[in-house]
C-alpha cells in the first residue's frame, strides 16, 4: 500500500478499501500528497481542497456524509418514504 493511502486511512478512520471505493485516491494523491494533515482530512471528509470542490465526485464521496450514514444531498435517491425509517447505525 502506498504511503498516501496509508496516511489517509490512518487520519480519516476509513479503511484503505473504503477509500479506494471512492475512486478518488489518484486525484487526491496528486492534490494533497505531502500536505498538512488537516488539509488531507478536510479533502477526504468534505471534498474541499483549498476553497474549491475539485469535481462532483469529491462532493458525492465526502466521508463526513458516509460517517453519518447518509448520502450527500442531491446525490442519491433512497426511495419514497425512506426518511421515516429509523436511521441505520453508521459509525463503526
Amino acid at each position: 500500500m502506498d504511503a498516501f493511502l496509508e496516511l489517509s486511512a490512518e487520519l480519516t478512520g476509513f479503511s484503505a478499501d473504503e477509500l479506494r471505493s471512492t475512486g478518488l485516491v489518484e486525484q487526491y494523491r496528486a492534490l494533497a500528497d505531502g500536505a498538512p494533515e488537516n488539509e488531507i482530512i478536510q479533502l477526504w471528509y468534505t471534498g474541499v481542497w483549498r476553497g474549491v470542490i475539485p469535481g462532483e465526485r469529491a462532493y458525492v464521496e465526502g466521508l463526513a456524509w458516509k460517517a453519518a450514514g447518509v448520502a450527500a444531498p442531491g446525490t442519491r435517491a433512497p426511495g419514497f418514504g425512506s426518511w421515516e425509517q429509523r436511521p441505520a447505525r453508521s459509525a463503526r
Partner: protein, 566 residues
C-alpha cells in the same frame, strides 16, 4: 384580446395558462434565460450551496445580488431572474395563511386585506390542484378551516423519523398556555395521488436537496405549468421590460423591452409590444422597480413601500438519540400553535418549521463539525465516530416571524447606479420593528422550552461578528432572509392608500395588473407561494370574466380547473 405578461415565474406562468386556455393571445416576456441543464452538477461543486448557486444568470438581468442595501438592516432574501423564476429554487412548502392574517391590523400590526380567508378559500383549492399539493385535509383542519369534503390532490407525505421523535415528546404539552401539536406541512412534492389526480413528474425519492434543485423533478416548478400552456401562449426569454406606457386616460397601451443575445454583456436591441392588458408578474421587487421606472400606478405613493419578508430565526440542537437527518424533504411538519392569538397585539406571531437537514443552513454542517473536531485534534476512528454522533443527532427549528407592512421599508430606484442594460438598480431600505424583534425573542424563548422538553443539547449561538446579528432586550439574536419578499404594490380597499384592488388591478390603470407577493398586505407566518398562486388564479378568473374575447363569446370553461368540494 392580447395580454402581455412580464415574468415567467410562479405568478406569470399560472396567469398565462388560464388566459391562454380562455382565448387570450398571451406573450410572456421573461428577463432571464432558460434554465441551465447542468444545475445539479453546479450544485454539487458549489462551495456554499446557497439557493441561486446552481443557476446561470445573465449580465443583462441580474438577480437579487444587484440590490443595494441602504437601511439599518440587510434585506437578504434572494430571488432569481430566469425562466421559472425563484419558483425553480424554492423549497416547495405550501401552508395556507391563517384566517387572522387577513385582518392583521385588527389582530396586531400592519394592514388588513380587502379579502377574507373565506373569499380566498376556493382559490386555495384551485391552486393546490394546479400545483399538486400533498396534504391531509383533516390534519389541516386542526388549525385552519378547509372546505367540507375537500381532498388535496395527494395524500400527506410520510413524516421524517425526526418528526415522530419530536411529536412523541411535545404533542399535548403546553408552552405559555398553547398546546403543542406536530402537524404535517402541505408540500408541493409528489407523493401518493388521490383518485382523480395524475402525478406530473416523479414521486419524491428523497434526494434531500429540494432547495435549490430537485434532481428528479418531484417538486413543482413553474415549468410544469408552462408545459400545460395552450398554443395561444408565446414565451420570449432574454427580454427585459423596462417601461410600461399609458395614454392620457391612464389606459396602458404597450410595453418597451430590451432584448439581448449575449449573456455576458449589456448589449441589447430595443423593442415594443402593444397590449390590451398588461400583467406584471416579475417579483415583488422587480414589479415595484418597473412601476417606478414607468411612473405609473403610484397616486397613493405606496409603490415600492411596505416591503416585507419573513425574518427567520434558526435554533439548532442535538437530539438525545440518532435521528438520521439529511434524508428526504427539508421539513415535513411544523408546530402551528403560535401563528396567532392575543400576543399578536404586542409581538409578531410565528410558525415553527421542524428542520430535517441537520445544521446545514444554520451552521454549515457537516463541514463545520469536521473542521471543529480536526482542530480539536481528533484523528482516525475517533474523528469518524465524533462526526457520526454529531451529525446523526442534528436538527434545526426554523421560526418564520411575521413582519408587518411598514411604509418605511421600501424599494426605490438608484439612478446613479445602473445595471449593464442601463436600468437603475433597486435600492432597499429595510429594518426590523420592535414588533418583529419581540417576535424573534419570543420565538427564541419557545425554542429554549422545546429543547428542554426534548432533552436536546442546544448548540444555538449568535455572535456579534456574524451577519444580521443584533441584540434586543439585552439578548443576542440573529435573523435569516426567507426569500419571501412581498408588499411592494400593496392591495387595499381604497385607491388613496393602496396600489392594487382585490383583483390585483392597479387602481390608476384599468388594464394594468401587478400580481404576486407584492400585492399581499400581510404575509402572516406562512411561506407565501401558495397564497400568491391562489391570488393569481382568482385574478385570472376575474380577467377572463371581464375581458371576454368578443360580444357573446363563450368562455372555455371555468378558469384554473377549480376542483369541486366533494
Amino acid at each position: 384580446m392580447k395580454a402581455v405578461v412580464v415574468g415567467a415565474g410562479f405568478a406569470g406562468s399560472l396567469i398565462a395558462k388560464v388566459l391562454g386556455d380562455n382565448g387570450f393571445r398571451v406573450l410572456v416576456l421573461e428577463a432571464g434565460a432558460e434554465v441551465n441543464h447542468d444545475a445539479v452538477g453546479r450544485f454539487r461543486t458549489a462551495l456554499v450551496k446557497s439557493p441561486l448557486k446552481p443557476y446561470r444568470t445573465t449580465a443583462a438581468a441580474p438577480s437579487s445580488n444587484y440590490l443595494i442595501n441602504t437601511g439599518p438592516f440587510a434585506y437578504s432574501s434572494p430571488y432569481l431572474r430566469m425562466n421559472g423564476g425563484t419558483g425553480t429554487a424554492w423549497t416547495g412548502i405550501t401552508p395556507r395563511m391563517h384566517p387572522d392574517d387577513f385582518h392583521a391590523a385588527d389582530c396586531g400590526r400592519g394592514r388588513d386585506w380587502p379579502l377574507s380567508y373565506a373569499d380566498l378559500e376556493p382559490a386555495y383549492r384551485a391552486a393546490e390542484w394546479e400545483i399538486g399539493i400533498a396534504a391531509d385535509a383533516d390534519e389541516q383542519r386542526q388549525h385552519l378551516p378547509v372546505a367540507d369534503g375537500y381532498r388535496y390532490p395527494m395524500h400527506a407525505l410520510p413524516r421524517t423519523y425526526l418528526d415522530h421523535a419530536i411529536a412523541s415528546v411535545v404533542d399535548g404539552a403546553s408552552i405559555d398556555g398553547r398546546e403543542l401539536l406536530v402537524v404535517g406541512t402541505p408540500q408541493a412534492r409528489n407523493g401518493v395521488p388521490v383518485n382523480g389526480y395524475r402525478l406530473d413528474g416523479h414521486q419524491c425519492t428523497g434526494y434531500a436537496s429540494c432547495v435549490p434543485v430537485c434532481p428528479e423533478n418531484a417538486k413543482y416548478t413553474p415549468l410544469r405549468t408552462q408545459k400545460r400552456w395552450s398554443a395561444n401562449v408565446e414565451l420570449r426569454t432574454r427580454c427585459v421590460v423596462n417601461r410600461v406606457h399609458a395614454d392620457e386616460f391612464g389606459r396602458v397601451t404597450k410595453v418597451s423591452y430590451q432584448r439581448y443575445e449575449d449573456d455576458t454583456s449589456g448589449r441589447h436591441t430595443r423593442h415594443e409590444e402593444e397590449a390590451d392588458v398588461v400583467v406584471l408578474a416579475a417579483h415583488a421587487v422587480e414589479n415595484a422597480k418597473l412601476l417606478l421606472m414607468s411612473g405609473l400606478a403610484n397616486s397613493s405613493d405606496q409603490v415600492g413601500r411596505n416591503l416585507m419578508d419573513h425574518p427567520a430565526l434558526l435554533t439548532w440542537a442535538l437530539m438525545p438519540q440518532a435521528i438520521g437527518p439529511f434524508r428526504g424533504p427539508g421539513s415535513t411538519t411544523g408546530i402551528e400553535a403560535f401563528r396567532s392569538g392575543p400576543e399578536r397585539g404586542a409581538r409578531a406571531p410565528f410558525r415553527i418549521e421542524i428542520g430535517n437537514w441537520g445544521w446545514g443552513w444554520s451552521a454549515g454542517s457537516p463541514d463545520s463539525d469536521t473542521a471543529e473536531f480536526v482542530a480539536a485534534g481528533l484523528r482516525g476512528k475517533a474523528l469518524r465516530e465524533a462526526v457520526a454522533d454529531r451529525v446523526g443527532r442534528q436538527f434545526t427549528l426554523q421560526f418564520e416571524i411575521e413582519q408587518e407592512a411598514d411604509p418605511a421599508n421600501r424599494v426605490t430606484l438608484d439612478h446613479a447606479r445602473r445595471d449593464p442594460l442601463g436600468n437603475p438598480r433597486p435600492s432597499i431600505h429595510y429594518g426590523l420593528s420592535d414588533y418583529v424583534k419581540n417576535g424573534l425573542l419570543a420565538a427564541k424563548r419557545v425554542s429554549d422550552r422545546i429543547f428542554e422538553m426534548l432533552g436536546a443539547d442546544d448548540h444555538t449561538s449568535y455572535k456579534p461578528d456574524e451577519e444580521r446579528y443584533f441584540e434586543h432586550d439585552g439578548e443576542p439574536l440573529r435573523y435569516w432572509g426567507a426569500g419571501h419578499g412581498g408588499g411592494t404594490h400593496v392591495m387595499g380597499a381604497s385607491p388613496r392608500d393602496s396600489v392594487v384592488d382585490q383583483w390585483q388591478r392597479c387602481w390608476d390603470h384599468p388594464n394594468l395588473y401587478a400580481v404576486g407577493c407584492g400585492s399581499m398586505p400581510s404575509l402572516g407566518t406562512s411561506n407565501p407561494s401558495l397564497t400568491m398562486a391562489a391570488l393569481v388564479l382568482r385574478t385570472a378568473d376575474h380577467l377572463v370574466a371581464t375581458c371576454r374575447t368578443g360580444p357573446g363569446a363563450a368562455l372555455a370553461g371555468p378558469a384554473g380547473s377549480w376542483p369541486p368540494p366533494r
